[in-house]
Subunit: 314 residues, 2 copies
């Protein structure tokens, strides 16, 4: 299988490249290096079955050349701005990096007759919703430009799937953690402790509660969904079992990387920043019915990710 | 009340201007004249409380000048490409005219501190879904770029409502009919009969079935939703009671405007064109609970609209 991975030098994209190569795929990895890191793929660059191109998928001509040259069987579209807080400051950043990249990839797939797409979406499409969220649940009322841009991208994936013959798997990621992350709660806490180990400032009151998933479990979920989906459009939710509060994460990080006297201080308020969804819960039974199961419960995933990061670096 | 109506020279927008003026509002009407018609607002142009500007809302500087000059209390954002079939041919047309216009209006509202928005959305955000569709229903899987672009716009309205203090009313229009329409099934049928009254060709098998709403009833629904909504984001569905098939519409139009020997020919297939949703049903109880009721059942609305158009022209 000849596979394009957009955003392949990023956090999740590079783990995906590892696993696709292990399954015997030819992997064509493109990244504009906005959040991608060359070191995430350094161990792959000498392989004959791995092809890296520094390329922005918004550059349609360059993308077309690559499509023409490689003859892709499938596209895993991972390229995105995944930093929700950064996106809140600029109403066009996520529009461009999440929605327009997706539309450009879809247009290129249509032009070159590529029929299979994996699209990385997010729980943020729901906004604040306390229900146990199944894949068909509504309403979809995002509160961040990140969530809105991913919902916009999902909408366009739906059109290409239902009207233009693309077969698409959409997986709405939860909070994904692990080595190679470029931001996120664990990353932030470790960076803060590195600067000042005496004190960890936590945004919000610490009661935000979400299901965290270790990146290895996420890639398992992606590949299970990929292998077993046949509909024009298949949507899945993946998450660790139960939820973990930001307070618990702070305590785990401090226990692993702080000092005995590190104090944890909360800025207060029910969320970390404008656009932060303070809590959500996922119904993951659809993906479980395909045989997928997260190896780590949410809080175990946090502990495991912290251990891996401290052992191997980001 | 000082109100901006974008797309105010269009089919629904011009009817809205009439009604807002009748309620005593100062109406600032802008239109890029893509689908707008000067004749739709000709009867208003001499009024001192009506201000028309030919302006594309994507021109942010011109829009900013108008916001600064007028000091709007509210915006009714009606500007859009409403021709679904036209949008299917070009994946960027609806993105630009529906989604980016909405984002630009939202950004201008935020910049100028305007707090109240009415957004014209559509049943097409749902794609093909046979359920009785309430406002909170999912999944949202559009099959046309029109539906996708309106869903994308809804997503951004949600962000500005939940995170940036805009109070928004979203009404998802059904098939709206009446005088001043620029396209749509009745318009098409009448235009075809005008060319050749001996024969009416109907796209699809005629069994597409949707709830039609007369434009006057729609404006009633808009104003009921507008007057009685207090949440940051209020979403409503409006439609005529029951549904009407395309076959019934063809027969009504031929009876009113054809000849005794006019034959009706069907091209076949379950839909009029790629991206056409062949049937849907709306749960309108949320809007009914505000006291709104359509004056015409769906098929009566079709008859009434045909009569009005034949009497008054488009």
């Amino acid at each position: 299988m000849n596979v394009l991975v957009t955003g392949g030098a990023g956090f999740i994209g590079s783990h995906l490249c590892d696993r696709l190569l292990a399954r015997g795929a030819q992997v064509w990895c493109v990244d504009n290096m906005h959040l991608g890191r060359r070191r995430n793929i350094a161990h792959l660059e000498s392989r004959p079955d791995f092809h890296f191109f520094e390329l922005d998928v918004l550059q349609r001509e360059a993308l077309d050349s690559l499509f023409a040259k490689a003859g892709f069987d499938a596209v895993f579209h991972m390229a995105a701005n995944s930093d929700i807080a950064a996106g809140v400051a600029d109403s066009r950043l996520d529009l461009t990096l999440n929605h327009l990249t997706t539309l450009t990839v879809l247009e290129a797939m249509r032009a070159h007759g590529v029929k299979r797409l994996f699209f990385a979406s997010t729980s943020a499409v729901f906004g604040e919703n306390d229900a146990l969220l199944g894949e068909d649940a509504g309403p979809l009322q995002p509160i961040s430009f990140y969530g809105a841009s991913k919902l916009a991208a999902e909408a366009y994936v739906s059109v290409f799937a239902h009207t233009f013959g693309v077969s698409a798997v959409v997986l709405r990621f939860p909070n994904v953690i692990g080595e190679r992350a470029t931001h996120g709660v664990i990353y932030d806490f470790l960076a803060k402790l590195r600067k000042d180990a005496s004190r960890l400032q936590v945004l919000g009151d610490g009661n935000q509660a979400k299901p965290y998933l270790y990146v290895g479990d996420l890639i398992d979920a992606m590949l299970a969904a990929w292998d077993k989906s046949k509909d024009p459009l298949s949507v899945y939710h993946a998450a660790g079992i139960e939820t973990t509060t930001v307070r618990e994460i702070a305590e785990i990080v401090v226990a692993a990387a702080g000092r005995p006297d590190t104090c944890i201080a909360y800025t207060g308020g029910d969320r970390g920043w404008a656009g932060d969804v303070p809590r959500f819960r996922y119904d993951i039974s659809r993906l479980q019915s395909l045989g997928w199961q997260p190896r780590h419960h949410s809080t175990d995933a946090v502990r495991f990710a912290v251990e891996r990061i401290l052992a191997n670096g980001f």
